[in-house]
């Protein structure tokens, strides 16, 4: 579970995420204290490095508190069941007073509205790596997890993911200032109209345009090319890791559950034994405990998988920025190419040499020379065109440079965030493994004691 980032997180009881098994009573010799430190606890809980300084978070606390089911008519007038999520916001100062916190403002949103918000941001800030949404459908499932969108575990993990999404936005230096985002958090009705009114759909690049750009850019910025390849590699490798992890989880589930059979079998056997009966019976109970423990263990591991998934989805956003760069670069190159062509045309007209084949030129040669007047008017038209072209080129250049600068700024910020988050994720994974080992030691030590009594 994730909490709203704020100074005081302790009163939010539902946000207890115990990553480490800090509650185990049996002491086993340890190399170091594996209980998580308070700092790690704060950082771990979201895996988001939430920057306190950003404007929006200073002002308000945000959380996605609940999920609920609704039914309604959809666009084709059919009944459908969907889930809505409760967004709570609260001015930040209210909590630090120490008294009972002010009741939060709330509104309900469904997943498709989150999607709309994100699409709007993608179009409006093409140089920003926009945080991804949690997956629409459960992927990389291992057998126990349901792939059903209405399954309560899935809904819960999605609630957490949506909260994480909002917090990421709220902590972003650029995105947090967006007014549509603010409205998303505060205006339940009328938000959809507000978004559509911005006319962002018109700004969206056609797929065709961006596709052709990718094939024909001559001089993309090398850093972007490298970044694109990196994000492709990252996407591949995280997908693979998630897939295998799911298989490992599946197998581990099998190992633990099969031990549960010992419980049943020992119980039956103990019925016919005098001296061995008690020991067998109690050992069997520990086997049942062992078998049951895997459910919680794997549920926790899902959080780790979710952290990795977030960055898997981030790679798509990164690729999006790279594509935008390619598109702008392409347009820049086209503009430059266009300009140089016009200049050459002018030169030819002025000097009379034909270097570039053109139908007009050929026909004029075949059907007689132009008059001096005609030629001069053509040159004048060209000069006009050239001037416009130069203006356009300057603009495009400026646009490109601005894009590169802004994008690279965000990319650096993203890199830092990624490194910190993933490192924390790996650490929390280690803590989970440690907890699992400690539980295993406890169960089998107990079982051994019981066998001793046989």
């Amino acid at each position: 579970m994730r909490i709203a980032s704020s100074a005081d997180s302790s009163d939010n009881s539902r946000s207890q995420m115990i990553m480490a098994d800090s509650g185990s009573s049996d002491e086993v010799a340890v190399i170091c204290n594996t209980d998580i430190t308070s700092t790690e606890s704060e950082n771990n809980i979201i895996n988001t490095m939430v920057e306190r300084g950003t404007a929006l978070l200073k002002k308000m606390e945000i959380s996605v508190a609940e999920a609920d089911k609704r039914t309604g008519k959809n666009t084709v007038n059919m009944q459908e069941t969907y889930t809505v999520y409760l967004i709570e916001t609260r001015p930040a100062e209210s909590v630090s007073e120490g008294g009972t916190p002010v009741a939060p403002d709330t509104l309900w949103r469904r997943y498709s509205e989150f999607e709309l918000l994100r699409t709007y941001l993608l179009v409006t800030y093409p140089y920003i790596i926009v945080p991804p949404l949690p997956e629409k459908r459960a992927e990389f499932v291992w057998h126990k997890l349901s792939a059903d969108n209405l399954d309560p575990d899935f809904v819960e993990r999605r609630r957490v993911g949506l909260e994480n999404f909002l917090l990421r936005l709220a902590s972003h230096p650029v995105l947090s200032n967006d007014s549509i985002f603010f409205l998303f958090l505060t205006e339940e009705k009328g938000w959809r109209e507000a978004v559509l009114e911005t006319g962002f759909q018109d700004k969206a690049d056609s797929r065709l345009k961006s596709l052709s750009a990718m094939f024909r850019v001559k001089n993309p910025d090398k850093r972007f090319t490298a970044l694109k390849h990196y994000s492709e590699d990252l996407s591949t490798v995280i997908s693979q890791l998630l897939r295998i992890r799911a298989r490992v989880a599946d197998r581990l589930y099998g190992v633990y559950k099969v031990h549960g059979n010992y419980g049943r079998v020992f119980s039956e056997w103990s019925a016919i034994e005098k001296e061995m009966g008690d020991g067998l019976q109690s050992a069997g109970h520990h086997m049942d405990t062992y078998a049951a423990s895997i459910d919680d263990i794997l549920e926790e591991e899902e959080h780790y998988a979710d952290q990795l998934k977030e960055y898997l989805f981030y790679t798509e956003a990164v690729r999006s920025v790279c594509r935008k760069h390619e598109l702008i670069q392409y347009e820049l190159e086209m503009a430059a190419q266009d300009l140089s062509y016009k200049k050459q045309q002018k030169e030819e007209l002025e000097t009379g040499t034909v270097r570039i084949f053109s139908l007009k030129g050929m026909t004029s040669k075949l059907f007689g020379q132009e008059t001096q007047e005609q030629r001069e008017s053509k040159v004048a038209a060209l000069e006009q065109s050239i001037q416009e072209g130069e203006e356009a080129l300057k603009e495009k250049n400026a646009e490109s440079q601005e894009f590169v600068e802004k994008a690279w700024n965000d990319i650096e910020r993203f890199k830092e965030q990624k490194e910190k988050d993933l490192r924390e994720a790996l650490i929390s994974y280690a803590i989970m493994q440690i907890s699992m080992c400690k539980k295993g030691i406890q169960v089998w030590s107990n079982a051994k004691e019981c066998f001793n009594k046989m």
Partner: protein, 421 residues
């Protein structure tokens, strides 16, 4: 036995012979039990060991082991007709009925089978530890596969050692022959031939059809226990096999899991180090898993398997006891309905009655003995399995903790560095 006409009732005859020989053995062997007088008859000999469990355990502890047997050094023999494996059987003993103190012979599986069947014939109601199976049907394991041979060797070793620990069986003439004679083949030819074995089987079948008149309650209870024990052992064995299978599949996936972290590390800079750290933790844990599986299949699985076979042995022992009783009852009935020639039949009936009592006493004695060693074996196997599992988790714990320590150390540095600047 040589050349004499084969008497109708083989088993009784055999018992007589061995009784004499065993008597000899006992008169020479002084270390059997502290302070007890020399046994004179099989009855008292057996009664000696019909003690309740506590004393049994003391008794067994008090017996100084004076015979040690090892089975090792498998070798394959290739002849024109067949290929087979022989094992070296080394005996070291201070028992006086052995001419020498050390013997070394080579035996093949068939020889062990021979020994077992002789022991079962001579001591029908004693519990002989099972031999490993002839073929392993479950896995299509070649007879000459190294693992198979090693598993079999260990089981054969245990088989012989159980016999050396048994106060009666270890004194068997056939056991001595098995351990000492260079060539077992001539002995194999002697003994009940095919025909006599057939007749015995048929008699047993006839008896089982007739059914027992009355069974002592203690044996009825024993039978019930044996049936339940057999079911339980099979279940435990099955569950254990399933666990081993699941472990193996888990380990296979783990082996693929670790490398993905290393692969990822290749495209990272700062993240490479912790990624490699996690990857190597996973690799180390998968090695530990491998060891754990190995241990399981070397300790728990064979033990459980042997006790599954033991259950079958017990069933056979119960059957043989029942047959002996059935024979007596049949003869007794015949006697009751006869009007003339009663004396000879009466003698036979009396003999059979003795046989029944001997058989019952032998079983009673061995029963508690068997229960004790069963309990010890299974308890020890489960304890060491649990201990190994604890060890496994402790090792994995250490692996992850040292990774965590390395990461925290680094982050401390980073924090200090950030503070400093």
């Amino acid at each position: 036995m040589s050349g004499a006409k084969v008497p109708a009732d083989i088993s009784g005859h055999m018992l007589d012979l061995d009784e004499e020989e065993d008597l000899e053995v006992f008169s020479k062997n002084t270390s059997l039990a502290e302070g007890n007088p020399m046994p004179n008859s099989p009855d008292s000999m057996v009664n000696q060991f019909r003690l309740d469990e506590e004393n049994e355990e003391e008794q067994q502890g008090a017996i100084n082991k004076d015979i040690f047997v090892t089975v090792d050094n498998p070798e394959s023999h290739i002849s024109a007709i067949e290929t087979f494996i022989t094992y070296r059987v080394v005996t070291r003993t201070t028992r006086s009925e052995f001419d020498s103190s050390e013997y070394e012979v080579r035996r093949r599986y068939q020889d062990f089978l021979w020994l077992k069947s002789r022991l079962e014939e001579n001591y029908p109601t004693l519990i002989v530890h099972p031999l490993p199976e002839k073929f392993v049907m479950k896995s299509m394991v070649e007879r000459f596969n190294d693992d198979f041979i090693e598993t079999r060797r260990k089981a054969l070793h245990r088989f012989l050692n159980r016999i050396t620990e048994h106060p009666i069986l270890s004194c068997s003439h056939h056991f001595k022959v098995f351990l000492t004679d260079e060539e077992l083949a001539p002995h194999r030819k002697l003994g009940p031939g095919f025909l006599s074995r057939m007749s015995e089987t048929m008699r047993a079948m006839a008896n089982s059809v007739r059914g027992l008149r009355s069974k002592l309650e203690e044996f009825a209870i024993m039978q019930e226990y044996v049936d339940d024990f057999s079911n339980n052992m099979c279940s435990v064995d099955k569950v254990t096999h399933r666990i081993t299978k699941e472990h193996r599949e888990y380990m296979d996936e783990l082996k693929q899991y670790g490398p993905t972290y290393f692969q990822w590390a290749e495209s990272e800079e700062l993240l490479a180090e912790p990624l490699k750290g996690v990857g190597s933790c996973v690799e180390k844990c998968s090695k530990e898993t491998e060891e754990q599986i190995q241990y399981l299949s070397e300790v728990l699985v064979p033990t459980l398997h042997e006790y599954v076979l033991c259950a079958d042995t017990l069933k056979a022992v119960m059957r043989r006891r029942d047959n002996i009783q059935a024979e007596f009852e049949a003869k007794n009935e015949a006697l009751a309905s006869k009007t003339t020639d009663k004396e000879m039949l009466q003698e036979e009936v009396d003999d059979l009655a003795d046989r029944v009592e001997q058989a019952n006493n032998a079983l009673r004695g061995d029963w508690s003995r068997w229960r004790t060693s069963m309990r010890a074996d299974l308890k020890s196997a489960f304890i060491s399995t649990a201990a190994k599992n604890v060890d496994y988790y402790e090792k994995c714990l250490a692996v992850w903790e040292s990774f965590l320590l390395s990461q925290r150390g680094e982050s401390m540095e980073q924090r200090n560095g950030a503070d400093a600047s």
